[in-house]
Amino acid sequence: MAYGVTQQMIDTFGEIVFKLSLNKQTRRGDAVRELDFDILEANRDETGLTDEEIAERIGLLPEQVGVVRVFTERKYHKIDQHRRIYHLGGGKRWKKETYRSPAERLRFNEEAMMLREAINFKPELVARYIDDGYWINETLNGWLTDHAQNTPDAIAIIHPGGEVTYQELKNRVDQLTNGLLSLGLLKSDVVAVQLPNTLDFVVSYLAITAFGGVMQTIHMPYRDADIEFLLGHAQARAVICLPAFKEFQTAEVILSMKDNLNSLKHIITVGDSASEDCQSLQSLMIEGTPEIDNPPVGSDPFLLLYTSGTTSNPKGVPLTYQNMMSNARVSVDEFKMTPADCNLSAAPFSHLYGLFNFHVALNAGATNVLLPAFTPPDLAKMVEATKATTLFLGPAHATAMINAGLMDTHDFSSVRFSVFSGAACPQPMMKTYRDKIPGTRISQLWGMTETAGATYCRFDDAEDIPVRSAGRASPGDEVRVVSPEDGEPLPANTEGDLQVRGCSVFPGYLNNEEANADAFTEDGWFRTGDIAIIDGDGNITITGRTKDVINRGGVKFNPADIEDLLVQHPKVEMVAIVPVPDSALGEKACCVVTLLGEVAVTLEELCILLDEHKIAKNKWPERLEIIDEMPLTPTRKVIKGRLMDQL
């Protein structure tokens, strides 16, 4: 280094030189004006010295002082401090006395940046969404704040514990936002939530997203391995959960994983108290208006959901406000939802469908009724008690209520609109359901974690449409069916691979380049993996999954319709047809069933049923496996990948 200066010399003398130089000046009295030379001389060191004077004072060469000083100044020098004056405004416009630089206010954790790097939309598509007004700068907290200001006394939530107005909800959310900020959480940090559809879930969700965090949902049935995989993959910094759920000691199990999960810093449990090394949710309810340095904006990710993983490990799906909020906002009009509506979701909020429903109702300023855990009687009672007007449920929910006779014994007359999603909707069930609520309208919605509510029947659609189809593309979305062979779009009423493109479609999987490469076409269409038919009016009917297709000696067929028939057999509870390797044909169909009773079903009996329905013989299963329990996702989809592994 120059002039014999060493790093040690800089370390040793740096602070002394910095202080003695004109960088720091102290004046005692008014000695210059008063020409009091004695005081001037006595205070000379404090008024700031030249390098020569400093050198003389501390025993270095003046040139060495220069080097030491420059390096020490460099250590302290920040380059963007003039922003302070911009920020402060000046004069009577003075804002805050404490200024924090943008670099400090807008900082992110490394894990958060990895998540943000997964947000990868096609620019030309984004330009279109913005031009067309689908993507705007909106956030969940923005919606909540608007309602709290405009309709503070409107009921936002009805839950088993009572009613909560929008103002009360906003207050609770602000309190928890303060608490989460007090933990040092930053924007885009992932906070996992494993909670049922409770007020705690809603407040947690809105508070996490209010400070700019990203909520990761964990389905309630998930246990050790699933939870560890999800928390690890998402690099979650905090988790909010029940202390225990049924026999599962949630908090204890997650605590035991902490050593393996480097990012996980906080375990927050619902309730007033918490076990050691956890924090109670109540302790994070801190009064006051949150001061959010880095508030969320429309393009930020705010949700990290995971696919249900029917074919492989769950894949992380980050979603931005613009994705999800636009989808919900445009759907409000299509569903004719208004602030007067009382909306009930039977679907869990850990799933996209439940959240979509929550968003729609929140956007409308309607009331959301919370059903913590689905049982047919609880759902029927809740509809009757709250006079719910809109009901979002799955076909299994409806079937269970119909079969239990609950729709005959409870008052469903308030329900003006019901939306079905989550699985294929058998037409007889749809008709029966509609017949049970005279005057109600029904809809089918099709979506995936990756697409949000991509298609659905409109409130005003003709009666037959929701019975047989999942409706048209949501505004801002496009759907098409392409040939599985060459990827070319197919004409109407032709079965093919379903693809979706539009404002609600996700930006790409988190840390999964392989999946991302397969997921999208060059021009941005998402390959859904579903097989569908689109009619001349644009209504889609899902007919199966591409990965379920069986290739028997070069003849491919979709086993979904076979499964629909076989499940009607009186001895069969659930059925799944999967391909198994065959030396002659390549693949052949294996039928896997669980039984309704003790009496086993035979392959021959199943084939007779298919014969009665005139099903071509090449689609008949050639092997039967009876198992005790069907592997299901939390959303009750058969995990065929696991079945194939077992076979």
């Binding site: 000046q25 030249t50 020569e52 002082v65 963007d80 416009r93």
Partner: protein, 321 residues
């Protein structure tokens, strides 16, 4: 060659000159005092060996509008030092041309060899000793009881003139500041400093007991020249292309390159080709200096013709006599 002169008359002539040019205050600093107070090698004689007098001019601070503007705008237009420099530069020429004594405009620059924030000459010290400003609690910014904040410039001359005295009283701290200080422990300048670079105390006599000024923090915010090497070092140290790009092109740094570009004579906003073909610009009746000057030229021609005619009349009269 220098001529005999009356120092008092010269001083008056200088004061008339600078005030006509826009200065509000004028004074002479005692050379001996300056040499005694200045650090070694920083006094006036280090710059002009035969200096005999130090003349100081002060011009007013920003306009009332500037003080009412927002902070960002004020930061750009609050300074009037170039006005002071122009006056002082003229004064140096005035002294040489009128009286024949060698004089220099004192360069208002930093001395890179002397250390951090060490000026070639302290104009502040000159002005204070000349009695046209006194040190305030705001980092020793000079204040004048009648003109408030001013900008100063100096001229050294080999002409020996009579020095003035420093101000008898310091206007700082103002009585309202003393009151606020006793209530809150801070004066307004301390309280409203964006980087909290000011602190100090007022004594029982309501005068400044101590004034602390963190010049580094102040300059860090307000003097961009120190940021340029910082920006370049940040660019070299950047971890990734985005960070590197931000170091160079980030909004907080763009102003640096903007100012450098001005200094380098780069185009600012216009290539002017749009205005070359703009009919309003090209045909505006008073936008054309030639047209604007036509009236003047006409008047000159008329005056010349009148003078000529008068002259002719006079000549004719003389001949007639």
């Amino acid at each position: 060659m220098a001529e005999e002169f009356d120092p008092a008359e010269v001083k008056q002539a200088c004061e008339r000159y600078v005030k006509k040019k826009g200065a509000l205050t004028f004074g002479l600093a005692n050379l001996e005092t300056l040499e005694r107070i200045s650090p070694l090698g920083c006094g006036p004689s280090a710059m002009l060996p035969k200096v005999k007098s130090v003349l100081c001019v002060g011009v007013g601070g920003g306009t009332r509008g500037a003080w009412s503007a927002d902070a960002k705008t004020l930061a750009y237009i609050g300074d009037t030092e170039t006005m002071a420099y122009r006056v002082a530069y003229g004064l140096a020429f005035f002294l040489e041309a009128k009286f024949g004594y060698r004089s220099i405009f004192v360069p208002p620059d930093m001395d890179p060899e002397k250390g951090a924030r060490v000026p070639l000459q302290s104009m502040k010290l000159h002005a204070e000793i000349a009695g046209i400003g006194a040190r305030s609690m705001a980092g020793d910014i000079l204040l004048h009881p009648e003109y408030g904040m001013m900008y100063y410039a100096s001229v050294f001359t080999e002409m020996e003139l009579l020095p003035d005295e420093p101000m008898a009283e310091n206007p700082c701290p103002h009585s309202s500041c003393v009151k606020l200080y006793h209530q809150s422990g801070q004066t307004p300048c301390m309280r409203f400093c964006p980087v909290e670079c000011l602190s100090g105390s007022i004594g029982d006599d309501d005068k400044v007991a101590e004034m602390n000024y963190n010049a580094h923090a102040c300059a860090e915010m307000s003097q961009q020249y120190e940021a340029i090497p910082g920006v370049l070092l940040d660019t070299l140290d950047a971890k990734d292309p985005i960070e590197r790009g931000m170091a160079l092109h980030g909004p907080e740094n763009q102003v640096i390159w903007y100012k450098l570009a001005i200094g380098a004579g780069e185009l600012l906003a216009l290539c002017y080709e749009c205005m070359r073909v703009c009919p309003i610009t090209q045909t505006a009746p008073l936008g054309n200096p030639i047209a604007r000057g036509a009236g003047m030229r006409q008047k000159i021609a008329e005056a010349e013709a009148a003078a000529k005619a008068e002259h002719a009349v006079e000549q004719a009269a003389e001949k007639g006599d």
